[in-house]
């Protein structure tokens, strides 16, 4: 009685029989997106039975801009700016494998100093992205302070990146053969100061956000991804590590100077939304550690190998992957000996989270949707390419 919905008296609700999709007639189909309070430019078709989601069908593709096709009619250098646009919050991370791949196919050596600068910039960008994501996660769970704090701390790191590269978010800083320009003389000292401040500041996030009973009530035990499912569905990055799998490309397949630096791979065993929000926070400490170590060891010297006007690739193919802020990011590049690539394929972490998201939403409450959606580290622009 009382709270029980009397379905037979609601028009359109017929408990008996199936509809055209073969679903029970008592099941309501909701179209969430692409304009809605809980997410970005992405659509989910959710079928709910009362408050429980029976099925979630993702509908991506609202920002498909044809990056891969565009690569084919631009040369290796012209491809740099538009390839970082899918994920401008982490623009160094998304450009990193492309630059590594072009260096291998065109056989370009990289100076030692440039490798260290790249590592520093990649780690700064990892923090910049994770702070942005944490802010958005906070505000969609109704925690405005958690929007304001990371957004403010992020600006300090953006200042550093801007000092080195000249642009706030779209740096286009990595080029085949090193980095575009050397960092200013004042950079190492200022970077150290900002990073130490930032590390102290991170501690306060625990008090205001992670220990907050409201945040815990909405995330602990929500959307549990078991270890086997994480592996079978192909989750990457913090989502995979929050389910207890120790997998980090920086350790498994070190690129540039990551094998000389000392850092831990963060894992947690819970696999719920809380763990998926907690792992990036712990990873930011590691990123600060890596950046500080790289700043210590950075040698002096040139930062860029001089290239001819239109570098040609050797005939062949190359596959390169790095650990970006959201997980494993890979480029597959085929060259037929021309200055333009024959085929470029991006494998982006966000796209790989879609099946995981659909799996987790099944059986969850409708009200848990924002917390699951945002814990996935899903970024529609990157997923659609």
């Amino acid at each position: 009685m009382g709270l029980e919905i009397d379905r037979e008296r609601i028009p359109g609700f017929d408990v008996e029989g199936k509809d055209a999709d073969g679903m029970d007639k008592g099941i309501l189909t909701l179209s969430v997106g692409p304009q809605h309070p809980g997410s970005g430019h992405f659509r989910l078709i959710v079928k709910v039975d009362g408050d429980i989601i029976v099925e979630a069908l993702p509908d991506p593709g609202y920002v498909h801009r044809g990056e891969e096709k565009m690569c084919e009619y631009r040369n290796y250098i012209q491809n740099i700016p538009h390839l970082e646009r899918p994920m401008i919050a982490d623009s160094c991370g998304i450009l990193y494998p492309y630059v590594l791949a072009v260096e291998e196919i065109c056989n370009i050596p990289v100076p030692e100093r440039a490798k260290y600068i790249r590592v520093i910039m990649a780690e700064l960008n990892r923090c910049i992205f994770e702070l942005y994501w944490l802010g958005i996660y906070g505000i969609f769970l109704g925690h405005s302070t958690m929007f304001m704090w990371p957004m403010a701390d992020r600006e300090l790191l953006i200042d550093l990146a801007e000092m080195a590269s000249g642009a706030r978010v779209t740096h286009a800083y990595f080029v085949p053969g090193g980095v575009r320009n050397d960092v200013p003389d004042a950079f190492p000292e200022k970077a150290k100061r900002h990073l130490l401040y930032f590390r102290n500041r991170l501690k306060e996030y625990k008090d205001i956000f992670y220990d907050n009973p409201l945040f815990q009530a909405r995330t602990v035990g929500v959307g549990i991804l078991r270890r086997e499912d994480a592996i079978n569905l192909g989750a990457t990055g913090p989502v995979l590590r929050a389910s207890g799998v120790e997998h980090d490309i920086r350790k498994v397949e070190p690129y540039d100077v990551y094998d000389e630096l000392d850092f831990k791979v963060i894992t947690m065993n819970e696999g719920d939304s809380f763990a998926r929000a907690y792992v990036p926070w712990l990873e930011m400490y590691e990123s600060v550690e890596i950046a500080l170590q790289a700043l210590e060891r950075m040698p002096s010297g040139p930062v860029r190998t001089k290239l001819g006007p239109n570098p040609k690739g050797a005939v062949g193919e190359v596959f390169k992957r790095v650990e970006a802020a959201r997980g494993e990011l890979a480029y597959y590049l085929v060259s037929d000996g021309n200055p333009k690539p024959y085929r470029v394929k991006l494998s982006v972490p966000s796209f790989r989270e879609i099946p995981v998201m659909a799996h987790l939403l099944k059986g969850a409450k409708l009200a848990d949707m924002p917390s699951i959606y945002w814990s996935m580290n899903y970024w529609p622009v990157e997923a659609d390419r």
Binding site: P34, G66, G135
Partner: protein
């Protein structure tokens, strides 16, 4: 004085409250409204424009990567809330500003139009980023519209890729200037 008042051939000026009046309009009411209009047109228009000016609520609609700098602009360092701009997460019916944050693809364009049609009048549009203006970096892509102005009318264009938050704020101030000078209808 009285004859002048009752004279049927008085030209009625274009009132701001009810626009053009026919010649045989009730003269007394006409005079009254004219006096009223003269007295309150400016202050009323000013007050209504002032209200619109400082409560521009953008729709929560992201179309591409420029949304990142929109987020940064609502953060503490740039803080567009100073200018009365705060994202309305609740409903489209509370919004009067639409910031097109970057690329609009063929799949997104009908949805943008649908959202625009659902917003109540008065509504304003800011096209943010090179992509929303001309297609930007993606001018030769097969799935990107060459600018949003074929789909919805645009008030202010904010160039950049992405525009810095300062540029976006300047665009918002330009829009406020525009509203200030619009005659209230």
């Amino acid at each position: 004085m009285l004859r002048e008042l009752l004279s049927p051939k008085r030209e009625s000026s274009r009132g701001a409250l009810d626009g053009e009046r026919p010649a045989n309009f009730n003269i007394l009411v006409g005079k009254l409204s004219e006096v009223l209009v003269k007295a309150i047109d400016k202050p009323l228009g000013y007050a209504i424009n002032w209200g619109r000016l400082w409560s521009l609520w953008p729709v929560h609609l992201e179309t591409a990567c420029c949304s990142l700098e929109f987020g940064a602009a609502s953060g503490p360092r740039y803080d567009v809330e100073r200018f009365g701009i705060i994202e309305a997460f609740g409903s489209l019916r509370q919004c009067d500003l639409m910031v097109i944050q970057g690329t609009v693809t063929r799949k997104m364009a009908p949805r943008v139009r649908m959202i625009y049609d659902q917003m109540p009048e008065p509504k304003y549009v800011i096209a943010m980023g090179a992509c929303a203006i001309t297609g930007g970096l993606y001018f030769d892509s097969y799935n990107v519209l060459p600018g949003i102005d074929g789909v919805i009318p645009v008030d202010v264009y904010v160039p950049g890729c992405p525009p810095r938050p300062e540029t976006l704020i300047q665009g918002c101030i330009l829009l406020q200037e525009k509203i200030k000078r619009t005659r209230f209808r």
